[in-house]
């Protein structure tokens, strides 16, 4: 039975280990989305990013998203890891591994997870600029459903 797994962690993400943990012998492919810190945002030079999270809820929400993706696209296991803390340029802030017996669904599912993650997982980042300034990065307002 393939699983959904989510982790919020201050530790660097190891892609080989993540792929290994996600793949089962039935899978023919895994797709790894690897989000990294860029050196600029809208032209302003960035020196680092500080990520913070509502860790417990973020893990729960990422696991829900992974469940939704597995159900919708019929993939194998999906594992999502999000970093917190201060990250340098080029460091991975988020990694999403989708295992699948076949490849088409892995692409759909991976895309679904990163789009949903950006829209509803309680994680925030503050950009540190080369000039010493810092600023919260504007984000998405999660959709809140009215009660039934």
């Amino acid at each position: 039975m393939p699983e959904s797994f989510a982790l919020v962690t201050p530790d660097p993400i190891d892609p080989a280990r993540l792929l290994g943990d996600t793949l089962s012998p039935d899978d023919g492919a895994a797709l790894l989305f690897w989000g990294v810190v860029r050196n600029q945002n809208e032209g302003r030079p960035v020196s680092h990013l500080e990520y913070s999270a509502y860790g417990e809820m973020a893990e729960r929400e990422m696991r829900r998203i992974a469940d939704e993706a597995r159900e919708r696209f019929g993939t194998g296991a999906i594992r999502v890891i999000h970093r917190t803390g201060s990250l340098a340029i080029g460091e991975a802030s988020v990694a999403i591994a989708v295992a699948s017996p076949h490849r088409a669904e892995a692409y759909e599912a991976s895309r679904y997870v990163i789009e949903q993650l950006k829209q509803r997982v309680p994680v925030w980042k503050r950009e540190g600029y080369v000039d010493g300034d810092t600023e919260w990065v504007p984000g998405f307002t999660p959709t809140v459903r009215e009660m039934a």
């Binding site: 993650l117 950006k118 997982v121 925030w124 919260w136 984000g139 809140v144 009660m147």
Partner: protein, 94 residues
């Protein structure tokens, strides 16, 4: 059946609600979290009103996104004693 004594002037029992603040809301609150007493039956909107009534959190929107016990919840959600209400500015993961 006995009619129980009843009056509108009786004090309502109080609930303890824990509020969590993140990112820019944390900057406004000047704290990660805050425990408040609210009367039984209070809703999220009442908690928001109380928090916005003074200090840095007066800059918080009138209807901020909140999660009650880690589920996104609308302003009308009725609170219960011990609930954890997280105030969630626009998210920017990834």
């Amino acid at each position: 059946m006995y009619a129980l004594p009843h009056s509108r002037t009786y004090a309502l029992p109080l609930m303890i609600i824990r509020s969590l603040f993140f990112a820019s809301y944390r900057d406004m609150a000047g704290a990660d979290e805050l425990a408040l007493e609210l009367p039984a039956g209070a809703r999220v909107a009442d908690l928001v009103g109380r928090l916005r009534s003074s200090g840095g959190l007066s800059r918080m929107p009138e209807s901020p996104v909140v999660a009650v016990n880690m589920d996104y919840a609308p302003m009308g959600t009725e609170l219960r004693d011990g609930d954890e209400v997280a105030f969630i500015p626009p998210v920017a993961g990834g």
